[in-house]
Structures are given as structure tokens and as C-alpha cells.
């Protein structure tokens, strides 16, 4: 039996994938009735605040974790098609404009860890990818990622998730394009400019479906294993304020009426360092207390896209003026997003 269980997945990966998908959907469909049944079994009034908060938590926590597991698994498989080397080869042959759009989109699907930002940056520049295009990639990669999008989808609905995706990509494309216009190649550190140029080649690793699934499982273990406490904390905060906190508490300071709230949110958000998941509890709390959506999204983007540790690392390859330009242009982009959002909605 154990031999069969071991060999079966590697021999029939597609069948296993189909079964897993079915099980996932089945599980997802039972969440709502299960959470209601659980609350009903507890000695609390369903219509009370506590009952509402409990049901909210018992439904949302497994829902978001399940969504996250599914999306991270699929993205882990997708990532195996987009190695940094391949992305670089795709970008090296393109010029500005279209390339910025491509770079930002590839930033979403290429596996990226913030500690790889600098080697990636140099690798791109070395292969002749234009500076502005490289920046489009570097801005989009941490800011627009599957974890942030899944959490927004699970907690605030698909509209906000889509808006975040669209606006995040726009900031990355436009900011990268603008930086490219400044022609600041000579503001790279000397040793980076002197690196020998390399040809952007890539050898496409031919992976089997089974190997791609293993990569998906690996990223679930890595990412979901790391972020689940944050997710639970975020949902617990959401549940705690579910119906408890008066909605106009934050409205005065971070509502639409306060024009200075967006720049303030960006100013606070830029030096802060946390990933998409760490910021979700804060977003949850701010929104529930009546802060304007544009302000909150601007805050979230500035926390994820710009941070002091990242700036310190980038300083090794960029001269101060280029860093200042990078931070300035991205912050301006995020600011615009915040205002447009507050104005339109």
C-alpha cells in the first residue's frame, strides 16, 4: 500500500491534480454551513455580537487559508515556467514602453524574494535590459503578488483585489517608464557599470507536471507555513471589530474628507517594513474604522513597495540621486493612486 501511495502521484500527476482540485472545491463549499453549525453548537447567541464575531472568524479563517493554499500552490507551479533567467531573456530584446508593461506583468509571475532584488537588478542591467524596464520589474515584483491579491480577494472581495492588481501594475509601469526617461544609467555604482556585459540566454528546464506540482507543494510549505499566523491575526482583528467599533472613529483622520490623509499614509508607510501579509491586519482595522479605501491602499502599497531595508540594500548598487529618484517617483505614483481612488469611489 505504502509503495503504491508513493508511486501513484509521480505516475499520474494529472489525476492527482484533478482529485486535489475536487477536494479543494468540496472543502470550500462546506465552510459556510460548517461554521454556522459550529457556532450553533456553542453556548452563544447567534444574533449577539459575540456570535456574529465567532461565525465571522470560523468562516473567514479557514476560507482565507484555503484560498491562500490553492493560489500559492498554483502560483508555485506557474513560477516554474518563469525563472528569472527566462524573464531576463524576454526583456532584453525589448525597448521601452511595451517592455515596461511586460516587465511589470512578469514581476507578478516570476519567483521573487526581496533578498534577491539586488542580484536580479544587476543581472538585468548586465544583460542590457533598460534601467527603466528593470525598475518596472523591481517595483511590481514585491508589490503585486499572489499573497496580497488572495488576501484582498478573500477579505474584501474581487473588486478590491482587481483594483489593487490594476493600480499596482500601473504604478510599476509608469514609474519605471518615468525613471527610464531620466537617463540615469551613470548613477549606478561604478562597479556595476564595469561589470562585464553578458548575453541574456536561458536554458529552459524541462520539468514534468509532477516536478512542477512538487514546486507548488514546496511554495505552499514555505509561504503558507510562514504567513498563517499573520493571516489569523488579521482575521481575528476583523472579527473583533465586526460590529463592535463605531465606523466613524477613523473617518475624521483617514476618511475622504481629509485631503492630507493620503500623503500622511504614504509617509508613514514608506519606511515601514513588512510583507503583504503583515500589513493586512492593519488594513483590516483601518477599513473597518471608516478610513477611506484609497488612503488605505496607498498605505498598503507604500509599505510593501518601499522600505528602509530595501533602500539600504539598493544603495550598494545605486548612487544616492538614483535612489532618491526611485523613491520619489514610486511614492508619487502611489499618492496618485490614493487620490484617484478616493475621488472616484
Amino acid at each position: 500500500m505504502s509503495v503504491l501511495a508513493e508511486r501513484w502521484p509521480s505516475r499520474h500527476p494529472r489525476a492527482l491534480l484533478g482529485l486535489a482540485a475536487l477536494a479543494w472545491v468540496g472543502l470550500y463549499e462546506t465552510l459556510l454551513p460548517a461554521s454556522e453549525a459550529l457556532v450553533a453548537a456553542l453556548p452563544v447567541e447567534r444574533e449577539s455580537h459575540l456570535g456574529g464575531a465567532l461565525q465571522f472568524f470560523l468562516y473567514d479563517a479557514p476560507k482565507v487559508l484555503l484560498l491562500l493554499t490553492g493560489v500559492v500552490f498554483v502560483m508555485g507551479m506557474v513560477n516554474t515556467y518563469f525563472t528569472p533567467e527566462r524573464t531576463r531573456a524576454m526583456l532584453a530584446v525589448r525597448r521601452d514602453g511595451v517592455a515596461n508593461v511586460m516587465a511589470a506583468s512578469l514581476g507578478v509571475v516570476t519567483p521573487f524574494c526581496s533578498c534577491s532584488a539586488v542580484p536580479l537588478f544587476i543581472g538585468f542591467v548586465q544583460a542590457g535590459v533598460p534601467l527603466g524596464v528593470t525598475f518596472s520589474f523591481l517595483i511590481a515584483a514585491p508589490m503585486v503578488n499572489e499573497v496580497a491579491l488572495t488576501l484582498l480577494l478573500g477579505l474584501f472581495g474581487w473588486r478590491i483585489a482587481l483594483l489593487y492588481l490594476g493600480l499596482g501594475l500601473s504604478v510599476a509601469v509608469v514609474a519605471g517608464w518615468v525613471i527610464g526617461r531620466f537617463r540615469m544609467e551613470h548613477h549606478l555604482e561604478q562597479w556595476v557599470q564595469q561589470m562585464p556585459k553578458v548575453a541574456a540566454t536561458h536554458t529552459l528546464a524541462r520539468l514534468t507536471v509532477g516536478e512542477r506540482m512538487a514546486a507548488g507543494g514546496e511554495s505552499v510549505r514555505d509561504i503558507v507555513g510562514r504567513v498563517w499566523p499573520w493571516v489569523l491575526a488579521g482575521i481575528a482583528i476583523g472579527a473583533a471589530i465586526h460590529g463592535y467599533v463605531p465606523e466613524d472613529l477613523m473617518a475624521a483622520i483617514m476618511g475622504k474628507g481629509a485631503w492630507w490623509s493620503v500623503p500622511l499614509a504614504v509617509l508613514i508607510g514608506v519606511p515601514m517594513y513588512t510583507n503583504a501579509v503583515g500589513v493586512i491586519p492593519i488594513v483590516q482595522a483601518l477599513l473597518a474604522k471608516g478610513a477611506a479605501l484609497g488612503t488605505v491602499l496607498a498605505f498598503m502599497m507604500s509599505v510593501i513597495a518601499l522600505s528602509l531595508p530595501e533602500i539600504v540594500i539598493l544603495r550598494k548598487v545605486l548612487k544616492p540621486r538614483l535612489i532618491a529618484t526611485f523613491v520619489g517617483v514610486v511614492a508619487a505614483g502611489i499618492l496618485t493612486v490614493g487620490y484617484v481612488f478616493n475621488f472616484v469611489l
Binding site: 528569472p84 531576463r88 521573487f112 524574494c113 533578498c115 534577491s116 539586488v118 542580484p119 550598494k316
Partner: protein, 78 residues
């Protein structure tokens, strides 16, 4: 004696990679030297774009993410 270099700017994943290799070396009883390369120009000299990278006896065998335990065992025992 195998010479292993771990390329990385000191991120958690790089430290985990070093710890894993040392652990596997200890468990399998293979003699290795593990060196951390944190100097950026040196890292880039290996042509690695995503860290941590692993160099085994002068050849880049891995880039991007912590390698799996069985992969490390294969490096050490092959």
C-alpha cells in the same frame, strides 16, 4: 573534501541554506568546507541572479531558494 560556497547577501534563506548543508554534512559524515560569500560583486561574478546560490567545487549547482534536503544529500554523496 568538498568545497561549498553559499552565495547570498545574508538573508534568512541564505542562513537556512548554510545551516542545512552543515547539518547534512554532519549527519552523513562527509567532510566539507562551507563558506559564505556575501560580497555582491563576488556573488555576481558567479552569474547568479537569485539568491541563495550554491557553488559546489567551483560550479554553480543551485540558485534561488533553500535547496531540498535530498538535493543537498545528493551533492555531498555524489
Amino acid at each position: 573534501m568538498k568545497a561549498i560556497k553559499v552565495l547570498g547577501t545574508g538573508c534568512p534563506n541564505c542562513r537556512r541554506t548554510v545551516a542545512l548543508i552543515e547539518q547534512v554534512a554532519h549527519d552523513t559524515g562527509v567532510a566539507v568546507t562551507v563558506e559564505k560569500v556575501e560580497d555582491l560583486p563576488a556573488i555576481m561574478g558567479y552569474g547568479v541572479m537569485s539568491t541563495p546560490g550554491v557553488v559546489l567545487d567551483g560550479t554553480v549547482v543551485h540558485a534561488g531558494g533553500v535547496p531540498g534536503r535530498d538535493t543537498v544529500e545528493r551533492w555531498l554523496t555524489s
